[in-house]
């Protein structure tokens, strides 16, 4: 549970406003701290209210969701919602599909991204930096501007309504290359030079030196890619029409469209769709946030 380890407590970092050096007056600093906690709690509660609503509604009956005044803690907790939903929609299939797509795309992105990043950072050859610039430039172009040509390509190749379309379009992004290269640049070239003198091939250096050294960056990239793929809506929405291929996001959206008055059940589905990502995030948030803070790009 240590978020932001890099930025949290560094000597010489900006002091907490108002907390600086008031040691003699103990009582005042305790009061200040209490106020700080109170302020933080208020902000956090405000941020988390929608989640509270989601969880609370998921444990109610449909007709208890919208009551005046709001019941934040349901009178009876209907845990049975969490059993019934599995029969109402093929939730297991949807979750499995999402997991499959996320794992495959993450693996491909991490492997090809880190491999290419080695070429871009540790092997010198003409045209390398120009090529890398082309990679970077595409990150700034909104995907929405070229989604139609992509769709035409997939249609011509008859890959729509297959996982191939999603995997091919998302597994080779420039972002992975960019993130890994940033990290490789911080690893001294001398290390590779020494390995070369020892007779290791470039592939050996990549596999036995760079990969083990870049575990934190690999973790960042893997987590970011996994979460993005799991949460992606437009990709599956455009390409996947067969119900048995749907991801959890499509499944949940279609459930909402069909049974828009089953408020409680909709919230149950929402909780279940968010849960895996929350667990993954709680375990890996250090890498997740470091990835964002160092690259600054999604």
């Amino acid at each position: 549970m240590t978020a932001l380890p890099d930025t949290a407590a560094r000597p010489g970092a900006a002091p907490a406003p108002g907390a600086g050096g008031a040691a003699p007056r103990r009582g005042r600093s305790t009061l200040r701290r209490a106020l700080a906690y109170a302020g933080l709690s208020v902000v956090t509660v405000l941020v988390l209210v929608p989640f509270a609503w989601m969880l609370s509604s998921s444990l109610k009956r449909d007709n208890q969701v919208f009551t005046v005044p709001i019941q934040w803690i349901p009178q009876e907790l209907r845990w049975s919602n969490f059993i019934e939903i599995w029969e109402r929609i093929p939730l297991l299939t949807y979750l499995g599909n999402s997991a499959f797509l996320s794992v495959v795309i993450t693996l491909l992105q991490v492997l090809t991204g880190s491999f290419a990043a080695y070429g871009f950072s540790k092997v010198r050859f003409p045209g390398r930096d120009a090529l890398f610039l082309a990679y970077i430039a595409t990150i700034a172009v909104p995907w929405q501007a070229y989604m139609v040509p992509q769709y035409i390509m997939m249609q011509q190749a008859e890959l729509t309504d297959t996982y191939w379309s999603i995997i091919l379009l998302q597994a080779f992004g420039a972002f992975g290359v960019f993130l890994m290269r940033q990290y490789y640049m911080s690893i001294p070239d001398d290390l590779c030079e020494a390995a070369r003198i020892d007779g290791l091939s470039e592939y050996g250096i990549y596999w036995r030196i760079m990969l083990p050294l870049s575990k934190p960056a690999l973790a960042s990239l893997a987590l970011l890619t996994f979460v993005n793929t799991w949460n992606d809506y437009m990709g599956p929405f455009i390409y996947l029409t067969s119900n048995e291929l749907w991801t959890i996001q499509l499944g949940l959206r279609s459930f909402v469209g069909q049974y828009d008055a089953e408020y409680a059940m909709i919230m149950t589905g929402a909780v279940l769709s968010v849960l895996p990502i929350m667990v993954i995030f709680l375990f890996g948030q250090r890498y997740f946030i470091r990835g964002i803070a160092t690259s600054g790009l999604k």
Binding site: M1, L4, D6, T7, A8, R10, G12, A13, A14, P15, A16, G18, R33, Y37, G39, L40, V43, V47, P50, F51, S57, F66, V68, T112, F115, A116, F120, R124, R128, F132, Y135, I136, A140, V141, Q144, A145, Y146, M147, V148, Y151, M153, F172, A174, G176, V177, Y206, V227, N231, Y233, M234, I238, Q249, I266, M267, S273, V274, M278, Q285, I289, A293
Partner: protein, 305 residues
């Protein structure tokens, strides 16, 4: 990136070595590059060409010059979508920026347990848009939703009907997107705040500056590079907004939340009007590019003075 460019190239190696390096270098890059070139680079270039073609899914492509653009500017949907996109950007950019900075300032304390609060503030960002949209649509429920109950409790006689009304649907979408994105930009601001030397604050305090003055004359100027970056990212993100709209309002009610990217999707993918939709896509790209370039220019000028 600059690091690689400024590194001196080693003394001209022997020819065989040079060729070997090219082969080895490309062998590393190729697995990713093939996919990247085919599925990102080619479609990107094709997008430009498509805008000048008359092409739907039934006929073969034909060069028509600027016809698509003429048609687009005559299309009322385009004007509505452009206006809505600007409205969204005008709300989303400043509100997210202020919320993210506020969160970062509040959470930039060295007290026990601050990690927990930071994690909580970041949670919305990793939540899927479908879940976010579904929950907020209920929160915004006009009759019995918590938001309107709160508004009524504090004395608003006729609270807005939010996603059910043409006037308030876009503000509802903006509020939702600010809530979801602020945690992400908070992380960037927190990183920026850590780079401000403690001595600056001490010096300001010695000079008699209060907390408010310290914020305006130390914190904000020192955060300028971060703010610039956040602004650029927010701008790009705002103009290309699509998925939140699709899952939350689908452009409605009426056309009140129809945005440019959605027009591209509707015309291009749903209706198969490839040429027309690519013209809209090109406009979208040019807007994003122009705003970004202008921001870079302003930033350069300010840095120079």
């Amino acid at each position: 990136m600059t690091q690689a460019l400024t590194q001196p190239t080693p003394a001209p190696p022997r020819r065989a070595r040079a060729w070997r390096d090219i082969l080895v270098g490309w062998s590393f890059i190729l697995p990713n590059f093939v996919g990247f070139a085919l599925f990102t680079l080619v479609p990107m270039l094709a997008a430009f060409a498509l805008a000048f073609l008359e092409w739907d899914s039934y006929s073969s492509p034909e060069w028509v010059g600027l016809d698509n653009f003429r048609q687009m500017f005559g299309d009322e949907n385009f004007h509505v979508a452009l206006r809505n996109t600007l409205f969204y950007a005008a709300g989303h950019i400043p509100l997210t920026l202020v919320a993210a900075l506020g969160l970062a300032m509040a959470l930039n304390r060295r007290i026990r347990g601050v990690q927990f609060f930071r994690t909580a503030a970041f949670f919305p960002y990793i939540t899927s848009l479908v879940a976010v949209a579904v929950v907020w649509n209920m929160l915004f429920n006009p009759t019995a939703g918590p938001i309107n109950q709160l508004l009524e409790a504090i004395g608003v006689a006729e609270p807005p009907r939010w996603v059910a009304s043409t006037d308030w649907a876009m503000p509802a979408v903006i509020i939702t997107s600010v809530w979801r994105d602020m945690g992400y930009y908070m992380v960037l601001y927190l990183a920026g705040l850590q780079t401000i030397p403690r001595e600056y604050y001490e010096a300001a305090t010695v000079d008699g500056a209060g907390p408010w003055q310290r914020f305006w004359s130390v914190t904000l100027p020192c955060l300028r590079p971060t703010t610039f970056f956040v602004l650029v990212m927010l701008t790009i993100q705002s103009f290309k907004v699509l998925d939140l709209i699709v899952v939350m309002t689908d452009g409605g009610p009426g056309r009140s939340t129809l945005v440019l990217a959605q027009l591209v999707y509707r015309e291009g993918i749903r209706e198969g009007q490839f040429g027309c939709s690519s013209a809209v896509a090109l406009v979208l790209f040019v807007i994003v590019l122009t705003v970004t370039v202008v921001q870079f220019r302003i930033n350069e000028r300010r840095s120079a003075t």
